[in-house]
């Protein structure tokens, strides 16, 4: 191989396994750049370092390398120790010709133990003993065959291995024959047991000679001692079991599983315990009944003896008691209850039908109510267009939520109202009411004019009752500074800016407002007939009629063009009325002459 000077110094590429390589003959290559070899990774032989330098291996390797280069070498072999084919004279007897190859491939799964019969194999010494034993045996006695002898020895060995595995440590107590015999089971026929008694001494002798170890040497397995590790005779150790990786998830899962299992076991146990209790009770019942019966029988005897006559029905239970049969009746199979209370067989109702039904019911009720109301109405003049209006049908403007109310004062909920589910204005008819005055609930189709003060009660969070007020809003304050108003107009950018309203509590508008609030109500716009009036309920007397309502108009409320104000009326703990419907019922007027526009809507 010629080294081609500094001539063609191409950068040699690294050898890639994917790279296509031309397969050439030596004569197709003229010059070889040795440097190329550098880019081929040197691969180790895979032989242990220390052995790589061995004389014979090196000789063989260099010979083969020489051959690869074309040198004439004789092949070199690594010398190995001898093997000789011996003329085992008894090979034929040891290995009889009995193999016949099956036509198909052999399939086989028996183990060595399955195929080698009795584990114990007789030694020459055993043979001598056996011959002697057979010779000295009483002529009538059975001769012990080799197979039987081996079976007995095997049995001794296996029992000793099982019952006295550490015999070699403590030789003082070799199992006695009687102990042995206890473990025979039915492994030996009675004939063999007799022989076994004789063989035992031989076995013991052998075993003692072996220092308590099994007569046929066995492999040394690990004893779980530290020195096992270093002992080259200890082999075939068990592998360490791979630890299953534990995660929290698996931990939690197994905990859950265990818990569940535990619960299930518990319930099963409880079930069984209950059954036991039941059966015990039944037993006592029977015993008691039996006792009763016996006593009655005696009574009859006594009666007969004493000549007491009477019915002989004493033996019978007069009142057939409810037998515990009921209890022991087969358990009722519980069918899961449907939430609508129907038997499970019936078809499920559709929401549409339910709705339709409800609608129909409502319409019916409405009609019924309407017709029933018609009768007492004959004496009255119905000023309303339609007494009973269908709330869902009647189009309602935003204002219809408000009822026109004129009051002297703002009512705080009467004590009677508390806790009895009635709304603020829905005062219950109390016995103290002198006479039921028919009141017609009036709902005007045309919304009350804005000028009429109107209230709307709402319930806020936490049960607060808020009354929205309309119609007596703060009149436009003409005194308001123009500049301030102007500021308000342009203050949209600045959300945080709260305009300051200069207000004098003695301004005309305020005085006017207060005067109106405290003054007797003006004539209502709709003048209800006199009979619709209703006196102030005496029960309301508990309230201070003149108490000024807490006025909590905020500046923000004042801002509202609508003039809505929030009145905080305090907590109203009474339960809400669930149904959201019109209160067409009569409302007790708060003031004597107060006409009630009772479209109160919560």
């Amino acid at each position: 191989m010629t080294r081609s000077g500094a001539g063609n110094r191409f950068r040699t590429r690294k050898l890639s396994t994917k790279q296509s390589l031309a397969v050439l003959r030596e004569n197709q290559i003229d010059s070889v750049d040795d440097d190329a070899q550098r880019n081929i990774p040197q691969i180790e032989t895979g032989v242990e370092r220390g052995e790589e330098i061995e004389h014979h291996l090196q000789a063989a390797i260099s010979a083969s390398q020489a051959a690869a280069v074309g040198a004439k070498v004789t092949q070199i072999f690594i010398p190995t120790p001898n093997t000789t084919e011996i003329t085992v004279t008894n090979y034929e007897t040891l290995y009889p010709k009995r193999f016949s190859q099956p036509a198909s491939y052999i399939r086989f799964s028996s183990t060595v133990e399955d195929c080698s019969g009795t584990g114990y194999c007789m030694s020459a010494e055993d043979e001598k003993f056996l011959e002697k034993m057979n010779a000295t045996k009483r002529p009538g006695g059975q001769q012990c065959k080799v197979e039987e002898f081996e079976r007995i020895m095997d049995l001794f060995e296996s029992i000793a291995l099982e019952k006295q595995p550490y015999m070699s440590i403590d030789m003082s107590t070799v199992m006695l024959y009687d102990e042995m015999a206890a473990h025979f089971g039915d492994a030996l026929s009675s004939e063999l047991v007799k022989i076994a008694a004789v063989v035992y001494s031989h076995w013991k002798e052998q075993r003692v000679a072996r220092g308590g170890n099994p007569i046929i040497p066995i492999l040394k397995f690990e004893q779980g001692q530290d020195k096992d590790d270093g002992d080259p005779y200890v082999c075939f150790r068990r592998r360490e079991v791979r630890q299953v990786r534990k995660t929290r998830r698996t931990d939690a899962q197994s905990t859950e599983k265990l818990k569940k299992l535990r619960q299930e076991f518990d319930s099963a146990r409880n079930l069984v315990r209950d059954v036991l209790n039941r059966e015990c009770m039944r037993k006592t019942i029977f015993q008691v009944e039996y006792g009763i019966f016996e006593s009655r029988r005696q009574i009859i005897g006594v009666k007969r003896k004493n000549g007491i006559r009477g019915d002989d029905e004493d033996l019978i239970n007069h009142k057939p008691k409810k037998r515990p049969v009921d209890q022991s009746a087969p358990p009722i199979i519980r069918v899961p209850i449907r939430h609508d209370g129907k038997p499970p067989e019936t078809e499920l109702r559709q929401l549409v039908t339910v709705k339709a039904e409800k609608e129909k019911q409502r319409a019916d009720k409405f009609q019924a109510l309407k017709s029933s109301r018609r009768v007492p109405k004959h004496g009255f003049i119905d000023l309303t267009d339609q007494v009973f209006s269908d709330s869902t049908v009647v189009p309602r403007g935003p204002d219809t939520n408000f009822c026109g109310v004129q009051t002297y004062y703002l009512p705080s909920p009467p004590p009677s109202c508390e806790g009895n589910g009635a709304g603020l204005f829905d005062l219950p008819e109390e016995p103290s009411v002198s006479a039921p005055i028919p009141v017609l609930q009036v709902s005007s189709k045309s919304p009350p004019s804005r000028d009429v003060p109107a209230f709307r009660r709402r319930r806020g969070r936490g049960g607060r009752i808020i009354v929205d007020r309309r119609g007596h809003g703060i009149p436009r304050d003409d005194d308001l500074d123009d500049i301030i108003l102007d500021r308000m107009k342009h203050s949209e950018e600045d959300g945080d800016y709260s305009p300051v309203f200069v207000r004098s509590s003695n301004s005309d508008s305020h005085i006017q407002y207060r005067a109106r609030m405290l003054s007797p109500p003006p004539e209502p716009p709709v003048n209800p007939p006199q009979h619709m009036r209703r006196p102030v309920l005496p029960s309301l007397g508990g309230m201070q009629p003149g108490a000024p309502a807490v006025f909590l108009a905020t500046a923000a409320a004042a801002q509202q063009a609508m003039g809505l104000a929030g009145y905080k009326l305090g907590q109203h703990p009474g339960p809400q009325q669930p149904q959201q419907q019109q209160f067409n019922a009569s409302l007790p007027p708060l003031a004597n002459r107060a006409p009630v526009h009772a479209q109160v809507r919560r």
């Binding site: 050898l15 396994t17 296509s20 390589l21 031309a22 397969v23 050439l24 030596e26 070889v32 750049d33 190329a36 040197q42 691969i43 032989t45 895979g46 242990e48 220390g50 052995e51 330098i53 004389h55 014979h56 291996l57 083969s64 690869a68 280069v69 074309g70 004789t74 072999f77 690594i78 010398p79 190995t80 120790p81 001898n82 084919e85 090979y91 010709k97 009995r98 016949s100 491939y105 052999i106 799964s109 183990t111 133990e113 195929c115 080698s116 194999c121 007789m122 030694s123 040497p217 492999l219 020195k227 590790d229 002992d231 080259p232 005779y233 082999c235 075939f236 068990r238 592998r239 079991v241």
Partner: protein, 516 residues
Amino acid sequence: MPTRDTSTEAGTPDVQTGEKSIATIATLRVGVKLYVYHENSKEHRLAEILSIQTRKGTPHYYVHYEEFNKRLDEWVPPTRLDLTKEVEWPRPDRPAKKPEKVAKASTPRETPTSATGRAQKRPRRGDSLGPGTPTLAQKSSNKKSRTSALADDDLVVQSETVGDVGTPEDEEVDEEPAETDPKAAAAARAASAKQNGTSGTPETFSKEHEIEKLRTSGSMTQSAHEISRVRNLSKLQIGKYEVEPWYFSPYPVEYTEEEIVFICEFCLSYFGEEKRFQRHRTKCTLLHPPGNEIYRDSTVSFFEIDGRRQRTWCRNLCLLSKCFLDHKTLYYDVDPFLFYIMTTRDEYGCHMIGYFSKEKESAEGYNVACILTLPQFQRHGYGKLLIAFSYELSKREGKLGSPEKPLSDLGLLGYRAYWQDTIVDLLLNNKGLETTIDELASMSAMTTQDVIHTLQNLNMLRYFKGQHVICLTDAILNQKQKQIEKQKIKGKRTLDPELIQWKPPVFTAANRTWNW
């Protein structure tokens, strides 16, 4: 033959660190390095004494020749030691250890620990078995030296008759041990190097640390103990063959006393006494590996065996193969492995030739854990067949595979031969004039790294006209030509992928892991 040289002066009873001086038989001890006559190479080689036993009043030395594989370690009588040269004394403490071969560790004689004292005073006991030796081992070696001295002498003779194995019988060397994570093996080695020769100090040093390494480094790891440096069995009889084990294997320690351990050819059970073995043979009904046959052609069959289902059989197999695989470890059980057994058939049954094991699920993408052709069947081309089969399975799985590292020397040679064959065949059959390494890899189920390794090793990757090319050199083509001629005469062992009846086994998480 060197004569035993006792003429040297009184030696250096008080030995210093790593020093060199003349020694006498009496002063020799474990860890000493000296020149020993190696019969096969007919020369004296530097060797380290790993163990000393006294038989019939003469000490015998278990020596490891430097730069020779451990399988050539042997027992030598004093006559083969060259004491005319200076010996290298082991260092008293262990500074930065050279790995394995050059183990300097030992306890200096003066160390007043009781253990050393004992070893010193009673050299009859297997010194090397000393540290941390289970009592049984000591007992047995004790017994051995007392009772079966004759047998031991035989043993020595056997190990000396390392026949001339150099005779090339067949095409390739085939026996490819390969396994264990290198870290583990290294740890084991370090451990054994450290512990080596310390006849008294039990469980010292960072053994815990090393064991921890063994444990954590995954699949079958190696036992970290100096005992395992000394081959413990003398001879195995498997079927018709008598085989000398190459390495330590943890058969029950009692069997180390036996002259021959008998191994049932079919169930691989082991017996120390011939009578027992004969009795077993009358009862054993196995005639083939206890699994499903997944391949059959005119000469060989392959059986697939699940380590979990055939635990006993697979353990027996591992014990046997450990005799021939240095890096194999039996530390852990066989459950997570599948075993593929290659057999020949005759009217006696299916005789195991070799096998490879494979992890049921390999994190590193290994397609072979351990692979072995039994020594009596080596150099008959079976190894290549085994390797080929492992790659056929990988092809069926649609995966690229590679053998687990480290490879043994024989394993490396076997794999290289197979790789060369495969790659050269692919290139010759390649109709197009170009290919990529990825393509070669996917056609052979070899990893791209192994492909590059092979090409590089065969000097086939060249740089020509500004790019890499693959060059089929004349030498390679000649080799190929020769091989074809040889195969014409001898025949070639090939696999027919059509005959594989196998689907990649699927294991549930429970099966795959090592539960029991």
